[in-house]
Point group: C2
Chain length 187, copies 2
């Protein structure tokens, strides 16, 4: 009985942490996508007008899409979280836990890959690559770069939260395959 009580407290705590993280991801994911997606800067160079926008760099497009995707995903998962908290249902079904686990894993790796690619591009933009004669475009488009930087920081927090969430959902799934359960070998 006491063990069952402990388990309920643990479950509730996990559920709350999960909900908080999903809200963080939802908020920051949208913010990152908006900051980067709406970022433009026009420079006049010898009466030419040159416009920098996020679609100039594929890594930023990937980052915007990834963050939009993960925000939508977190909205759905957050609602699911709220519903199960209101209903007070504690244990998952295995298929549902598998769906959540798989979704979280995929999203975690997508966001990490997106932030790594964008980070790489950001380094090129900021520092250039003199050996390859790639110039520092941030010297030219300062305001554009700063706004992208803000977006990248948000996206970094999103990917970190997603990594933690993927560990939580792994825990929620795999403890259903506990060593003392009879049907623990049914996969």
């Amino acid at each position: 009985m006491s063990s069952l009580g402990n388990r309920k407290v643990l479950d509730m705590r996990i559920r709350i942490i999960e909900l908080v993280l999903r809200c963080v991801i939802l908020g920051l994911g949208i913010l990152a996508a908006l900051r980067i997606g709406t970022d433009t800067q026009v420079r006049e160079i010898f009466s030419f007008q040159k416009k920098a926008k996020f679609t100039d760099m594929k890594a930023l497009v990937f980052l915007v899409i990834a963050n939009g995707l993960v925000a939508c995903y977190s909205l759905i998962q957050g609602l699911r979280c709220v519903v199960s908290m209101v209903r007070g249902s504690v244990l998952f079904s295995k298929p549902l836990a598998w769906v959540i686990f798989s979704g979280d894993q995929v999203m975690a790796y997508i966001t990490v890959a997106a932030i790594a690619a964008a980070g790489q591009s950001a380094v090129f933009s900021k520092l250039g690559q003199p050996e390859l004669q790639w110039m520092k475009i941030c010297d030219m488009y300062g305001k554009f770069c700063n706004q992208v930087g803000e977006g990248v920081v948000c996206a970094f927090v999103v990917s970190l939260s997603m990594v933690i969430l993927s560990c939580i959902s792994a825990f929620s799934l795999f403890r259903l395959y506990g060593a003392n359960k009879k049907n623990s070998t049914s996969w």
Copy 2:
């Protein structure tokens, strides 16, 4: 008894899959690091000698280090795997399972981030970025680029294997927190 037998078979299968994946990572990780790390090409341009090497691009340095690291890590983990297979010990201790889980998670995300950053650089090198006046350096250093490409493919398989391994070690850890166990709330 039958459940216990099933469990042993499952454990052995998991152990074998784990060992195979760790060997794949060890082999391909070393191969990727060597292919990229030893890659150079000298071009003569107007009697200038220009040399391309992997340190010109930080993402490749990161990829080489990440693959070297994950290869060493896999060697140690593979040995641990073999020892526990020979000894026939089936169940992990929780602290050991936590160490393996944490290590695998960290390595999985590092390799995914490395491959994403290197992939991004590879796209820049292959296609250039005309909007930013970054030129296609692969047109200049064809042989260099092809060898990097081989390394990137190996590294991709490494990161994929590492992702699968991190799921396996999550399973091995969290099922120790099975729903029917008494000490399942002890963290």
